[in-house]
């Protein structure tokens, strides 16, 4: 066999495959195996953190489809998570529905809400759209607190443990696999959507809306579709969240959370699925790192003892995001792409 020095494709089908080299397939295989054996390697807390990463990833991918790909900024993403989470909980607790009903239903109800928000937002752009979606988020929060009969108001709601065909997943380790499968499906679906007709239309709407329309893209339809799709992802993430936490409360879905999701896609890389994953993991994990770092400093310098609190964590977090915006506007994804090019050309520098 001849040594393949580059990727040679003989059909267009080969050319558009996601994993088109032996190496990328091998790495992906290793990565999946690694994810499956993770619970055996780490402790429960680590698995719990990965669970949170999965939820954040699905939510961030959804927001990136809307904000990164279609260019429609949203400050109400957490509200769609809330709609998904409450829908899932009500169906599961009240009607005893299994997970394969609650997860898609949470997504679909959130998507319906997304369409309702998307239609009046069609004519809004930039800051105005941010304001409109933000007010939607505040409205949802208010409704969740006021509608005590349905949502439990300030007390929140309890989600039963997820039952996968008779198997009750009541530990972080067992629910981990459940979340992993949903997350994988959602990521692959997003990846496929953005490389086909709908995804191209989304990017076209973002880059040049007038040219997109002149080329035959129905602007109204695609903007609403982006809202619906993004909210579907948020809704699914919401149901996942409810299953992991077991308890949901209006305070889990505030505007601050929406801003956090926005931070995820900015840090990760706007308009990139991989970037959303990086960003979600980064934002979930970094506060832990800051905490560990603070503890190390406290131990090393006695004068610093007792100075650390959560406020400091938030401040450090904000600083990190600022630094990212200044030094790496393309986000973690562009760092990754540069590394990849470096490896590809190794041992040459170009």
């Amino acid at each position: 066999m001849a040594i393949r020095s580059k990727i040679f494709c003989e059909t267009y089908h080969e050319d558009i495959k996601l994993l088109n080299t032996y190496w990328s397939k091998a790495w992906m295989g290793l990565f999946i195996i690694g994810l499956f054996i993770l619970p055996f390697l780490g402790d429960t807390y680590m698995v719990y953190m990965v669970n949170l990463c999965c939820i954040a990833t699905v939510a961030a991918v959804g927001l990136n489809l809307l904000t990164g790909f279609t260019g429609q900024i949203s400050l109400g993403h957490a509200a769609f998570l809330a709609i998904g989470a409450y829908t899932g909980t009500i169906l599961s607790e009240g009607l005893n529905m299994p997970f394969w009903v609650t997860v898609p239903a949470g997504g679909l109800v959130a998507a319906a809400a997304g369409i309702l928000v998307g239609i009046p937002c069609l004519r809004l752009k930039g800051l105005y759209l941010a304001m409109a979606t933000m007010s939607f988020g505040v409205m949802v929060e208010y409704v969740l607190i006021t509608l005590k009969g349905v949502t439990g108001g300030e007390r929140g709601m309890y989600m039963p443990e997820v039952d996968v065909f008779g198997m009750v997943l009541n530990t972080d380790e067992s629910i981990y696999y459940f979340l992993l499968v949903i997350t994988a499906i959602m990521i692959v679906a997003a990846k496929n959507i953005v490389r086909t007709r709908v995804g191209r239309a989304f990017v076209a709407v973002r880059d040049r809306d007038i040219a997109a329309e002149v080329m035959g893209v129905n602007l109204t339809l695609y903007k609403v579709m982006a809202f619906a799709l993004s909210s579907f992802y948020a809704g699914v993430a919401g149901v996942m969240y409810a299953y992991v936490m077991g308890h949901i409360h209006p305070e889990h879905f505030t505007m601050l959370h929406s801003v956090e999701y926005l931070a995820m896609i900015i840090v990760g890389g706007l308009g990139s699925i991989l970037g959303s994953i990086f960003g979600a993991i980064f934002i979930v994990v970094i506060p832990e790192f800051i905490k560990i770092l603070a503890q190390t400093i406290e131990e090393a310098i006695p004068a610093m003892a007792g100075k650390y609190d959560d406020e400091w964590n938030i401040a450090a977090f904000g600083l990190l995001i600022m630094l990212f915006l200044i030094f790496e506007p393309g986000g973690l994804n562009s760092i990754w792409q540069r590394l990849k090019i470096g490896f590809k050309n190794w041992p040459f520098t170009y």
Binding site: T11, Y12, H13, D15, I16, V188, A189, A190, N192, I193, R195, T196, R197, V198, G199, R200, A201, V203, A204, D207, R208, I210, A211, A212, E213, V214, M215, G216, V217, N218, L219, M225, L229, G271
Partner: protein
């Protein structure tokens, strides 16, 4: 019957009249040039045809369908494609993706089938890619097909934009200043492509252009606008000899000043 009929078109912006009572026909298979000094309303006319502006009066009729009653994406579906004066490509997409977006109307993959990327959606991607590759060959942009459009030089971007419009398989192609800002060689290339589009693909072309050399060489018919009013319409030689056109371009009077050379 003409393929595209502009009938008594008037376009007002507040107090400004961009077009007033413009009427002319574009025949099937012609290269029809639209010329006139800056601010004559050429691009405004294009925007009316492609549905971005609504005229105050009159209409544009393409193959029997009234264009300006409907939205731009429906007009695209009728077989009208265009390029823009200032390149309006999707900067962050590759050349292939830009052209595939041009195939938007010829594809049917929705969110669900796209998410699976299997069967019909996959076949559709491959089939349309074939057509896109034909256009890439036609415009000789093979080398840059996977590059993001924003990183390409101006002349190539102009060519990609023609490609994106062609990907729509239009029956009429509106070109807004296809050779603006190009050197002689690039201009000749584009002129050759425009002739090929007409002869090989049989697509009618309506073209706004300031380069009189190109217009007089390749156009079958020329329409001249000045301050939103149609002042001449005919073959290139007729238009060239028209005193109103000369006046519009060179200004009135002082013959002596022009006779110096």
């Amino acid at each position: 019957m003409a393929q595209l009929e502009i009938q008594d078109l008037t376009l007002n912006f507040g107090g400004i009249t961009a077009l007033s009572g413009v009427a002319f026909n574009v025949q099937q298979g012609d290269i029809h040039a639209l010329i006139g000094p800056n601010g004559a309303g050429k691009t405004s006319l294009f925007n009316v045809i492609s549905g971005i502006y609504r005229p105050s009066q009159g209409q544009a009729v393409f193959e029997g369908n009234i264009l300006n009653k409907t939205s731009p994406h429906r007009i695209a579906a009728m077989g009208v494609a265009r390029t823009f004066q200032n390149i309006e490509l999707f900067q962050h997409m590759s050349v292939i993706d830009n052209l595939l977006l041009g195939r938007h109307l010829h594809m049917g993959t929705g969110i669900l089938s796209g998410a699976m990327f299997y069967g019909k959606a996959l076949r559709e991607e491959v089939r349309n890619r074939l057509r896109v590759e034909e256009i890439i060959d036609f415009l000789e942009i093979e080398k840059v097909r996977k590059k993001p459009v924003g990183s390409l030089p101006y002349g190539v971007q102009k060519r990609v934009e023609i490609g994106r419009a062609l990907a729509n398989d239009p029956r009429i192609l509106l070109l807004d200043e296809p050779v603006a800002g190009m050197n002689v060689e690039e201009t000749e290339d584009i002129a050759r492509f425009v002739l090929d589009v007409k002869e090989e693909l049989g697509i009618t072309i309506l073209m706004v252009e300031h380069d009189m050399g190109v217009v007089m060489d390749i156009a079958d018919r020329v329409t001249v606008l000045d301050f939103g009013i149609l002042i001449a319409d005919g073959t290139p030689s007729q238009v060239q000899a028209n005193p109103k056109v000369i006046e519009a371009y060179l200004g009135e009077g002082d013959e002596e000043q022009w006779n110096v050379n």
